[in-house]
Structures are given as structure tokens and as C-alpha cells.
């Protein structure tokens, strides 16, 4: 039975509740999905910066295609991979708007690689939020460009094989080398502390738009427990053990400079997976 201390539950004692920048629509995401958490912190940033009336988001194709139903801001839904092209035009034609794209790994790093690289290389004054869960969620768990070596998916049922499938794409490190990116970071949303850091990164990304110095790119490592065939709690643990060595968390480029001691050329190919997902 739930316990309820009615003396505490008073408006003046409220320290946390869902932001009004999220609509009341129930998200369609699977239980425990990082998309919901990331949506929430992006919306909280928009709320805290007071820019709800000046923000336009661009939704991708993939699990987060319906992002526009959840954010109470104006939203455009792009064709698969084209969000950075849309965002480019929105921002250039409306320089006073805050413009952000929200894309998954298939959208941003496979079908939309050209649009991603060129928007970053042109130094568009936009914020790009990139969800990397190493798998295609919406279509049912196929290999993504970021799928780890050895990781199973519907199209790599015996594990990703480098000879057949090539290497996991560390697009974030690649983008950090471009002069048009101003802030590049990799965060995660698997613990409360990580969520706080990720939110701070997103906030910095939005604030950077005022500086007009280029793209702020925030990768969010997220679990896809359905695609990985684990419970949400197991998936977050697996992510920490297996995704983090391949995709190290932290700032990669700040204020237009590669962060000291970050090795953007580091190649990890055969880090052994701790648990073989089923």
C-alpha cells in the first residue's frame, strides 16, 4: 500500500513535477525508454530558459517520430535523416528562433549522415540532440550504425561482424573535428546524476544559440531495453558496461576547442561484451 503524507503534499512544498512544456499526451515509448527522459529534460530546459514561444523543434523518423505530440512547442516532422536540413532553413529564415533537432542513430548517423555532417560543417546555429541506443527501435531492433561489435540485433542475429557489417560509427567524435561545431558532448540518462549532467549539457546547447558560433551537438546514450531484450534496469547496467567503453561519456569539444585528454581518434573495436544480449 502506498503511503501518503498529506502534510507535505502542498503546492508550496512542490520541488519537482512534469514541466508544462510537455503536453499531457501519454508517450508511446516502451517502459524505461531513454527517449522519455530526454524529452523531459529538453522540455525542462525550454521551460527554464523561457523560450517556449521562440522554439521550433524538428522531429525525425524512428521511435521519436511522434516527438511533436509531446513537446508543447511548434514542431516540424522531417523525412528520414533530413532534420538538419530542415533546421538549417528554419534557423536561417528565422534567426531569432531557438531551433533544435531530435534524432536517433539510424536517422542521424545512417540515412541522414550527409545532412548531419554538412549542417555541422556550415556551423548552423542550432542544437542537435542525438539519441544513441545502438539499435533501430521502431522497425523492430535491426542493426544501427552505432551497434557494437558482437552485439546482436534482428539483422545481426549472431552479433555484429566487422567483416560483414563494418565498424560502429562514432559520429560524435567525427563531428567534433569539424570547425562548424562549437559544443560537442556525449551524455547519458541512465542515473539521476547522469540526467542532471545531460540536462546541463542541453541547456548549454540551447544557450549557445545566442552566441551564433555554430552547432551544439549533444549525444545522449540511451538504452533500448525492448530492442536489447532486457529489463529497463538490466539495460541501463548493460549500457554502462558495454556502451560506455565504446562511447565514452563527457564533453568532447567545448567553446570550439577539443577538450584536453579527449582522444577523438581512439578506436575501440573488440571490447568484449559483458553479457551477450539475447
Amino acid at each position: 500500500m502506498a503511503i501518503m503524507n498529506q502534510d507535505i503534499v502542498k503546492p508550496e512544498n512542490l520541488v519537482y513535477t512534469k514541466t508544462k512544456v510537455l503536453t499531457d499526451a501519454v508517450m508511446h515509448y516502451c517502459p524505461g525508454c531513454g527517449h522519455g527522459t530526454t524529452h523531459r529534460i529538453v522540455a525542462e530546459v525550454i521551460d527554464e530558459l523561457g523560450i517556449q514561444d521562440k522554439t521550433v523543434g524538428i522531429a525525425p523518423v524512428g521511435c521519436s517520430v511522434l516527438a511533436y505530440n509531446y513537446f508543447d512547442v511548434d514542431f516540424e516532422e522531417a523525412a528520414h535523416g533530413r532534420a538538419p536540413a530542415l533546421a538549417t532553413a528554419v534557423k536561417r529564415l528565422n534567426p531569432d528562433l531557438y531551433v533544435f533537432t531530435y534524432q536517433g542513430d539510424g536517422d542521424l548517423a545512417a540515412i541522414g549522415t550527409a545532412e548531419t555532417i554538412h549542417a555541422c560543417n556550415r556551423g548552423e546555429n542550432i542544437t542537435m540532440v542525438f539519441i544513441n541506443n545502438g539499435i533501430y527501435g521502431m522497425t523492430g531492433g535491426q542493426m544501427a550504425p552505432t551497434t557494437l561489435v558482437g552485439m546482436k540485433s534482428q539483422t545481426t542475429p549472431y552479433g555484429r561482424n566487422v567483416e560483414r557489417n563494418g565498424y560502429p560509427l562514432r559520429i560524435t567524435e567525427l563531428l567534433a573535428t569539424l570547425p562548424g561545431t562549437y559544443y560537442v558532448t556525449r551524455q547519458s540518462v541512465h542515473t539521476p546524476a547522469a540526467v542532471r549532467k545531460a540536462k546541463a549539457a542541453i541547456k548549454k546547447g540551447f544557450e549557445n544559440q545566442k552566441l551564433k558560433k555554430g552547432v551544439s551537438f549533444i549525444e545522449i546514450l540511451s538504452s533500448c531495453n525492448s530492442g536489447w531484450k532486457m529489463t529497463p534496469v538490466q539495460a541501463n547496467k548493460w549500457m554502462e558496461e558495454n556502451m560506455f567503453p565504446n562511447y565514452p561519456v563527457g564533453d568532447i569539444k567545448v567553446d570550439g576547442k577539443i577538450v584536453e585528454n579527449v582522444d577523438i581518434n581512439r578506436i575501440v573495436v573488440d571490447h568484449p561484451l559483458t553479457v551477450v544480449n539475447q
Binding site: V73, E76, A78, R82, A85, A89, N94
Partner: protein, 360 residues
């Protein structure tokens, strides 16, 4: 309105008309035979004068999606390309049509299929008026036959695009794009103010004020019953356009025994063939399509009732002829004559074809 006369290329006319008609943005990728559109814009630097944004994209795929992004904020946004580039843009075009985003696209058709040639052709008719991309949709498709029309149709395009929330396609070729003719230019129509944008595009993504819900520009609908309702709405819009927005030119059709049906470059050849034929005593008329969608179904049907035969002249293997035959309900002999792969027929060839295939 039309004051100053200038000599210019068709492609240049498109670019100058974009600036003069208060276009907010152009996103393109170079491709022969229409690269002068972006070159003219870049040389004119309208961002210094009208505030128009001009950007060279990394591909046609990107440029059409930039059009989508920009136009979805309720601004006047355009692109231009040629057949292979337009093929790449089909994804964006079906999204634009599905999301009902007004915008302007120019296609200078070149000979295909595949990489083909760079010379003028009309072989993208099917692609332009029968979809091109997936799904049941139409573009308002208009075919200029002169540099002046290239210029004027840009102005008309914005009226139609925003009135019906539809992408407008100016369908032309390198012959009109590259030829130089006189062109009366118009006074600058100022770009919309912020207030005008909000009034003309209340559906646009320009930042949600407190007094309205959020605007979403999308073509996604997961519920098939709602998708059907939406598709019916689109079809109703297309029927309304067929009733109200058809444009054509009928020359000497009143007393004609035979009519040549053509559009764009081939209509100019047809007019010369008509002139030679009339000098020989043949009662020939020309029915020039200006809008390809909406197609002048009613007018062709009426024409079919009092002429003896029609020759469809196209720089293709025969595409428009299908719509002409459908409109005429095959009630009279209708034949096709075309050169293709980038070859423009001569007026003598056209007249000969009319005499051999129709008059006999």
C-alpha cells in the same frame, strides 16, 4: 505594374522574379541547365537588400528538405533543379504535398532517363503530374513558354501556393531557361512582415504564442481512417483547383479542323507549324496548356467535339497525350509526335507529322 523592359535569360528571370516577388529563401544545388538561377541570386546578393536568404546546399535532397523546413515556418521558400536533381527531390515533394506546405520548385527538364543529356526535353511530364513521389498527391504544375512567363509565373506561384497550401512546380527546360528574350520586370513586392507571415500562414511553425496550441507540420498519420479523411480533403482541394485554376491558351481554335496540343517549348514550335500550315490553307489551331495540373479537361473535351483530329507534340515519347486522350474520351483521332533525348522538333517536322498522321 510592368514598367522596365530588360533582356535576360529564362533562368535569370526566375531568379530576378524570386527577389522581386518577396521570396524569403532559396535553397539549391547546381545542375545544368539551370545553374544560372542560383548564380544570379548569389551575384545579386539579395540578403543585402530584401533580406532574402540564399544557400547552396550539399545535395538536392538537402535543398528540398531545406525548402520544407523553411516553408513550414510560413515563409516563401523556393528551389530549382533539373531532371536528375528533381528525381532526388521526390521524397521531399511528397512530404511537402502531404504536409500541405506552400513552396516553389522549378524543373528545367533535360533528356533522360538516367544521367541522360543536358539538352531540353519534356519527358518529366508523368513525374510532374502523376505523382513522382509516393502517395495520392498533386503539385500545381505550370509550364511557361517564354522568358516573360518564367518571370511572371513566379509571382503567380506564391498566390496559388498559399491560397491552396500546395507546392507549385514551374516545369520548363533548358531552351527557355537559356534563351535570352525581353522581359518586363515588376516593382519589388516587399517580403512579408512578421505580422503578414502570421496572418498568411497561421499553421506555420514560427514559435507558439500563449494564445494558441502548438503548430505541427507533418504528413504522418498512424490511424488509417483519419488518413483517408485527410486524403479526401486533399482530393477535394485538387478538384477545386481543376474548377478554378486551369490556364491555357487557344490560338485559332475557333475555325480549326486540326489542333496541335502542346506546352512550353514545343508549343512555340507548334505555333510556327500552325502559321506555315495556315499559309498552305490548312485550318490548324494550337491549344497550349499552361497549367499541366490542373489539366484543362473540360476545354479539351469541348474542343474535341468540333475538330477532326489532334496532334500532341511533346519532347517525349508521348506522355501528355494520355491526358489529352482521356479528356477527349478518344472521340477523334489523336496522335503523338515527339523528338526526345534533348532534341527539339522543327516546325516543318511537326507540320509534316500533322499532315501524315492526322490529315492524311
Amino acid at each position: 505594374m510592368a514598367k522596365e523592359m530588360k533582356l535576360m535569360k529564362g533562368n535569370e528571370a526566375i531568379a530576378r522574379a524570386m527577389i522581386a516577388s518577396g521570396t524569403d529563401g532559396y535553397f539549391g544545388y547546381p545542375i545544368t541547365p539551370q545553374s544560372e538561377v542560383m548564380e544570379t541570386l548569389m551575384a545579386e546578393q539579395p540578403w543585402e537588400t530584401t533580406g532574402m536568404v540564399v544557400l547552396q546546399a550539399e545535395s538536392e535532397l538537402a535543398s528540398i528538405n531545406m525548402v520544407y523546413g523553411g516553408a513550414a515556418t510560413g515563409k516563401k521558400v523556393a528551389t530549382s533543379s533539373s531532371s536528375p536533381g528533381i528525381s532526388l527531390m521526390q521524397e521531399g515533394l511528397t512530404y511537402l504535398a502531404g504536409a500541405e506546405v506552400p513552396c516553389l520548385i522549378m524543373n528545367a527538364i533535360r533528356g533522360g532517363p538516367g544521367r541522360g543529356t543536358i539538352q531540353p526535353a519534356q519527358s518529366d511530364y508523368f513525374q510532374s503530374v502523376k505523382g513522382g513521389g509516393h502517395g495520392d498527391y498533386q503539385l500545381y504544375t505550370i509550364a511557361p513558354a517564354s522568358v516573360q512567363e518564367m518571370y511572371d509565373f513566379v509571382f503567380d506561384a506564391w498566390d496559388i501556393a498559399f491560397k491552396y497550401r500546395i507546392p507549385v512546380l514551374i516545369l520548363t527546360d533548358g531552351a527557355i531557361g537559356q534563351c535570352m528574350e525581353k522581359c518586363y520586370v515588376r516593382d519589388y513586392v516587399p517580403r512579408w512582415t512578421e505580422e503578414e507571415r502570421r496572418k498568411n500562414a497561421p499553421w506555420g511553425c514560427w514559435g507558439k504564442p500563449a494564445n494558441r496550441g502548438h503548430n505541427v507540420v507533418t504528413s504522418l498519420e498512424l490511424e488509417s481512417s483519419r488518413q483517408e479523411v485527410f486524403n479526401l480533403k486533399l482530393q477535394a482541394k485538387y478538384r477545386e483547383m481543376e474548377a478554378k485554376e486551369v490556364k491555357y491558351e487557344a490560338l485559332n481554335c475557333e475555325d480549326a479542323d486540326y489542333v496541335i496540343v502542346a506546352y512550353g517549348t514545343s508549343s512555340r514550335i507548334a505555333m510556327k507549324a500552325m502559321q506555315i500550315g495556315r499559309e498552305k490553307g490548312l485550318k490548324i489551331g494550337v491549344f497550349r496548356l499552361i497549367t499541366l495540373f490542373p489539366f484543362p479537361k473540360k476545354e479539351i473535351k469541348e474542343l474535341a467535339q468540333h475538330v477532326k483530329g489532334m496532334l500532341c507534340v511533346e519532347m517525349s515519347a508521348g506522355q501528355m497525350i494520355e491526358d489529352v486522350k482521356l479528356a477527349a474520351e478518344c472521340s477523334l483521332p489523336i496522335e503523338h509526335f515527339g523528338r526526345f533525348g534533348g532534341i527539339i522538333p522543327t516546325s516543318e517536322e511537326v507540320l509534316e507529322a500533322l499532315e501524315k498522321q492526322i490529315i492524311k
